[in-house]
Subunit: 202 residues, 4 copies
């Protein structure tokens, strides 16, 4: 039975790859020449170091989206054909993935300021949305009309169980953002590292 | 009979995927530190909420372009080979699709201002152009030289009928923009939701 | 005999598609609120019309790069395998194609100013470079090591002859830029229209 | 034995192609109208020439990333299947490749200023990271689980030897940045030219 999801997967891969690469636009070249003075090497070095929230935000978003791409790939390997339901669940997921550079830029700008909580709330809310979208994509993918009949039932069952964890864990990160922005980013980081390791078992 | 449109479809997919992902660049990180004061969480939250025209514009453009991509896919499934006419009709379509982030950004900037009518006129005018381009692509695709001889005549006839509706409906949205910018965006939203459901039947 | 240029063509297509889509970033949302006054619909409409040099520059660059992509496609159809020479000729071409959004933005900014000559000189110089690069790619592609042995000799001969015209014609446009910027853009426009029609014959 | 790395290679190609094309965003349209005066052709020409650090930085980054793409291609030709280790080594490499436009923009901004050392330190440090990542990808790729059993042992051995040179050579460029920024960029340029020629032998 032929697989018909080639162009859908290629399109999704394109959106993942572009979103992940656009993250770099969030890194702004620091302006170090003050009041017409010449910029100096120590001043530029200091400015580049002060960009640490940008580096941290980029790192977290990059690997989270990369892991998502790997999971997207694994789910679609089990899909025989796409129907309208899967197409739109996937469209909702792509919308949120394509948007990731925005909350990333907001965190980069405000993580080292008193407005860090609001920035991290936005960031984690987008990822709650992505976790929900992933769950919907999986639900849409694993119906009789779309699932590859040769897919291992055990594996499908494990996905169904594991993906339920995504939304509550990101909601936890969103709640943490209110009290400790860094804890919130820390939970996001812990999550992609955790998923990276469990992916290895797939 | 071999299909020769692979590289053309892949290129078109690339333009669709990039245009859809570049929409995020329209979301500008709000600047909330006024007069050298420290930014605060309530101020940033309020600023993020005030960006609602940006979110609305992005949502409308994202799903409209996504549905278009699905339709582009469906049309080209019925095409056996591309000739120069189809190539240039498709080029005209890609030009307008690649341009979508611009009117989207204009709507995002001006929807909540007295200049909203001009912004929505630009936006809907681009989509009138896209609807015309889609009609031209379909006409070019469904000629004897290009159509897959095995394509269902009934299906081709239905496309021919349905695609005639696109341009007048977007012209309606353009006219509405003069009187009510929000109605104009509402019509655009209604259209992509409508097409999403009818796509499901294909 | 297997074709080994798939990944090279896909990579080149990616660069063409991204460069063509990044052109939209040159269209800047006009700022029409003066001195704290509310923006108005007539003011925004007037500003959008004043962007005509941006639209003209985008149109010219878009279709020129699109035609180039079509020609790139046609050349590589005749190639059996890529070697280092072809790889680097192609790399030089991709460098210049990826750079096109820059001279396009310069023309958009300065076409309606007294600095239009300098802008059009830059623009046409980049296209002289692209025409040279295309000639080099064709020369590298049509050597015994790389050419498909089944390629029609007549067709290869015609390419060899036609591609010699590219560099002198763009040099003409570059010289014209000194005297009349609009004539210079006009020659560029005439060239892509001409190539579009001759492509139809391939 | 089937090759299973198709989607991984396509995704990596996407990131390489996008990163290489985003380099153009570093070229900023010069603003030559001073104090409300009209811009003139000589002023714009002079401004465009003063952008030489941008052109040099773009050129160096473009060809370095292009050569890396070629090498990435060559390595993955020898890979039969990807496992989690290779996936994450490759993810680390893609992170650094996607980030290249940032140090490129920093060099473009500061190469002609007294802060050039800091800019070149950042630039070369990123490339030290990329050289290390490439070495890790190669190590991950050439394990028994992943290597194509038909890959030439001689060739694998030569890769193992050559790739050890990357990190120390870029560390040399990083050290040179302290004393002479131009020497540092010169070493980077020499390296991609050198790799371009040795690639030709592969």
């Amino acid at each position: 039975m032929e697989k018909e999801t080639g162009r859908l997967e290629a399109f999704s891969d394109g959106v993942f790859a572009i979103a992940i690469t656009l993250l770099v636009l969030e890194l702004k070249v620091p302006q170090v020449a003050e009041h017409g003075a010449e910029p100096t090497t120590p001043a530029l070095e200091a400015s580049l170091l002060r960009l640490w929230p940008s580096y941290l935000a980029l790192l977290t978003s990059f690997f989270t989206v990369l892991i998502m791409w790997v999971h997207h790939h694994i789910i679609f390997k089990l899909v025989r054909r796409a129907d309208a339901t899967l197409l739109f669940a996937n469209g909702f997921l792509l919308l949120l993935v394509s948007v990731v550079p925005f909350p990333t830029a907001v965190v980069a700008e405000y993580l080292a300021t008193p407005a860090a909580s609001a920035a991290c709330e936005l960031y984690t809310t987008v990822f709650v949305g992505i976790a929900v979208a992933f769950y919907l994509v999986m639900m849409a993918a694993f119906r009789e009309q779309t699932l590859d009949p040769e897919a291992s039932a055990e594996r499908v069952r494990r996905f169904r169980r594991d993906y339920k964890l995504g939304p509550p864990l990101y909601i936890l990160a969103a709640v943490a953002a209110r009290f400790s922005p860094m804890l919130s980013i820390g939970i996001c980081t812990a999550l992609w590292i955790f998923w990276a390791f469990t992916t290895g078992e797939c």
